[in-house]
């Protein structure tokens, strides 16, 4: 087994080479956080797509199909579902960031919404992605690495090694290393996904054997349900409380899952890449041809083939597939998967470290911190986050899994402040803050973490995970939108801060849209809603039998739902192209972006106020902890 260490060494050497190169470009710390806003657009496009695919496509997407079949059909539309938020937000967020000279999402929220709650909430989401979401994927890879090393490495040692490598290149090269290396990692991850699909197909015996195997499963009444969406919705109490009739893969389960995926594109780590990009020229092409096109094709073809292979023969799951290959191929594919996960993990770590130090600690508790010390402190914190995630992978995998499940739905709650900044000018500050707060509460109440926490404190909720087969992201957003609408209606007279007023004026003046765009607006709404309805919404039930003839045969030679997904992917690609270019939602703006300079203000010493904040913070932590202990002792279950 020489190939795995050999390829691993090559990967580590390449990683550290790019980290060193980036550190020199950075001047050590000068442009550590944002690569001097100079990432080339094509690199950003690849990094955004690679961070979205990460290890998720194989570790979660293919696994879902392999275990439960095609019922959760929205998984196959991940490419388009991930591209749509990019089309909606990236261009406008980039313009706002450039105009206000801001380089991270928490900072943007503070400037625009003047809300410490939103800033802290965004930082928490960033930490969840860095520690839990990335940690869960790294944990799966560590186990795989241990298995492929024939016992030479234990999962714990593998997790530590992966953590060390991650820590090394993030703290040395910062955002620039993540960008440069990310382009390479995205291509490696894509190649690994294609390679795995090819080997899965070869192992099964070719396309005809794959279809014959699927046909055999579809003919068996015990497994026929794996090729169907089991209705629009099931009014069950949720996983762990009441099983759904048939299976959990309803149309609303698909829709809400797709919404959760869309949370990824609103996350602080993805916005970090957007705000570090040198020009918005690549957003339209990136979202259309890279994300929805190339990576969308990988989801709908490659991920589906890997999943279908496992569905036919459970021994052809990822681990089985890799152990059955020659060692040079399994090593190459594993490095590809590792590259995808490390891309996302590195980005998440940098964004979490920056959020906590540069966006929370420095402005609130230590404004005198120099730039060099800010970078140093961020590096230390990134190290602590890596230690935390490795320890959680080894010691508390269940908690890690529960926390990881919170990342996407909580991130999706950031849609309302993002929409308020970019499109919906009538959303007010109190509405956004209250909406996000209620949305987060709804997510917690429908996720195992919140349910377990309340159960530990003696409060058993009458529902489990995904009540009514609807993902927590949708429960959170329903609450979030309802509260935001209601509060906005009553607080329309409240004004905005100076930076927000300037940002609103700038966007309104510069991006009014041509007469042609205004004329196409109703068409855009119609086709978008139609696609959402048919591809990831209730219309998925049509896909159950759309490509089955009167004799019960598959017209396309593959399951009807898979054929439906293929046609909807083509339609989705057209939709993304139409919105990006024809509606000018992501196309490059033909405007200069002047930098906004706030009016000079008399600065007063913050030392006393910061000391007071630090004291209050420590007291709050102590009181909170004491209250939690008292509550647990009083009401907690033994």
């Amino acid at each position: 087994m020489i190939w795995l260490p050999l390829y691993g060494l090559f990967y580590a050497a390449a990683t550290l080479y790019w980290a060193r190169l980036s550190a020199r470009e950075n001047g050590d710390y000068q442009s550590f956080f944002s690569a001097a806003h100079g990432l080339p657009p094509w690199i950003s496009a690849l990094v955004l797509a690679g961070a979205s695919i990460s290890g998720w496509a194989v570790l979660v997407g293919a696994e879902e199909i392999g275990r439960n079949g095609f019922g959760l059909a929205a998984v196959l539309q991940a490419g388009v579902a991930l591209a749509l938020p990019g089309v909606i937000f990236f261009k406008r967020i980039w313009l706002l960031g450039r105009h206000l000279r801001i380089s991270s999402l928490p900072e943007l929220f503070r400037a625009y919404w003047q809300s410490e709650f939103l800033t802290a909430f965004t930082a928490i989401v960033a930490v969840l992605f860095a520690v839990a979401f990335a940690g869960l994927q790294l944990s799966a890879l560590s186990k795989l690495l241990a298995r492929l090393s024939d016992g030479a490495l234990s999962p714990e040692i593998a997790a530590t090694l992966l953590g060390l490598l991650l820590f090394g290149y993030v703290v040395i090269g910062g955002m620039r290393a993540i960008g440069y290396l990310g382009a390479l990692q995205a291509l490696l991850a894509g190649a690994a996904l294609i390679g795995l699909a090819a080997f899965s197909l070869i192992s099964i015996g070719g396309a005809s054997a794959l279809n014959a195997g699927l046909l055999r499963l579809a003919a068996d009444p015990a497994t026929a349900g794996r090729f169907l969406v089991s209705g629009v919705v099931h009014f069950t109490a949720g996983v762990g409380k009441q099983a759904a009739a048939g299976h959990e893969g309803t149309a609303l389960a698909s829709l809400s899952f797709a919404l959760a995926l869309m949370g990824l594109q609103a996350s602080p780590m993805v916005m970090k890449v957007v705000l570090s990009t040198s020009s918005p020229r690549g957003f339209a092409a990136g979202q259309t041809w890279v994300m929805a096109g190339a990576f969308g094709a990988m989801f709908v073809f490659c991920m589906a083939v890997i999943g279908a292979g496992e569905l036919i023969d459970p021994a052809l799951g990822l681990a089985g597939l890799l152990t059955g290959l020659s060692s040079w191929f399994s090593a190459w594919l594993l490095i590809g998967l590792l590259a995808g996960v490390q891309l996302m993990a590195g980005l998440a770590l940098l964004s979490a470290g920056e959020s906590l130090v540069r966006n929370i600690y420095k402005p609130l508790f230590h404004s005198q911190l120099s730039r060099r010390d800010t970078v140093t402190l961020t590096r230390v914190l990134i190290g602590l986050l890596v230690v935390a995630t490795v320890l959680m992978q080894v010691l508390t995998p269940v908690t890690l899994s529960m926390l990881a499940a919170l990342a996407l739905p909580l991130s999706f709650q950031l849609w309302t402040p993002l929409l308020g900044m970019t499109w919906l000018r009538w959303i007010t500050r109190p509405a956004v803050v209250t909406g996000v707060g209620f949305g987060a509460a709804a997510v917690l109440l429908t996720e195992p973490f919140g349910i377990s926490l309340l159960s530990y404190l003696g409060l058993d909720l009458p529902w489990g995970r995904n009540p009514w087969t609807i993902h927590s992201a949708a429960w959170g957003m329903a609450t979030n939108v309802a509260v935001t609408l209601l509060v906005s209606a009553f607080t329309q007279r409240r004004g905005f801060g100076e930076a927000a007023e300037e940002a609103r004026r700038f966007l309104f003046d510069e991006l009014r849209g041509s007469a042609r765009v205004r004329a196409l607006r109703s068409t855009a709404w119609s086709v978008s809603l139609a696609w959402v309805f048919l591809a990831i919404g209730p219309g998925l039930v049509f896909g159950n039998y759309a490509f089955i003839d009167a004799g019960g045969r598959w017209v396309l030679g593959l399951p009807s739902l898979w054929g439906w997904a293929l046609s909807m992917w083509v339609a989705g690609l057209g939709l993304v192209w139409f919105l990006s270019y024809k509606m000018e939602m992501a196309s490059p703006p033909a405007v200069d972006v002047p930098s906004y300079t706030p009016r000079p203000k008399l600065r007063t010493s913050q030392i006393e106020a910061e000391r007071e904040r630090r004291r209050n913070f420590i007291i709050t932590i102590a009181v909170g902890f004491s209250l939690a202990v008292v509550a647990a002792l009083s009401f907690g279950q033994p």
């Binding site: 080339p40 490696l188 040079w328």
Partner: protein
């Protein structure tokens, strides 16, 4: 030496090409040797040739040639692999399929290398790349 923006972008592309196509080609080539099927090895060689074509295309886009590091790494790897092949062939541990696979790899790479030199620099220019003139004659020709 500090790299410029475009040279960094070129380097990223070169890394990506060899990480994806180079290692894939190597894997397919080794698979052919393992299964004793020359055709599979030849497919691996084709993928490696494809990687070279992509590398040269990127060089063309960025209006540059192979860097000194790339040249030395390529020639070094060729030399080491060639040495291993000769030793293995001399030791008699290669099957006929392995033998032909090796010959295909080294033959195609050598032919490709010469073709690249001739098309890029011309016959005389390609010779001049290796013909180091003595200092006094170099000065006389100026």
């Amino acid at each position: 030496m500090k790299q410029t923006g475009s040279s960094i972008e070129r380097s990223i592309l070169i890394f990506a090409i060899w990480a994806v196509l180079g290692f894939l080609g190597l894997g397919v080539f080794l698979e052919g040797m393992k299964t004793d099927i020359w055709l599979v090895s030849a497919c691996g060689v084709s993928v490696i040739v494809l990687a070279f074509v992509a590398h040269i295309t990127v060089n063309g886009v960025f209006d540059t040639g192979f860097s000194a590091g790339e040249t030395s790494l390529g020639l070094g790897a060729y030399g080491v692999l060639g040495f291993v092949f000769v030793v293995s062939a001399a030791g008699g541990s290669l099957t006929m399929a392995d033998y032909y696979s090796g010959l295909t790899l080294f033959g195609v790479l050598a032919a490709g290398f010469l073709a690249y030199l001739f098309t890029r620099h011309g016959l005389r220019g390609a010779f001049s790349r290796f013909h180091v003139k003595p200092m006094d004659k170099r000065e006389a020709s100026l």
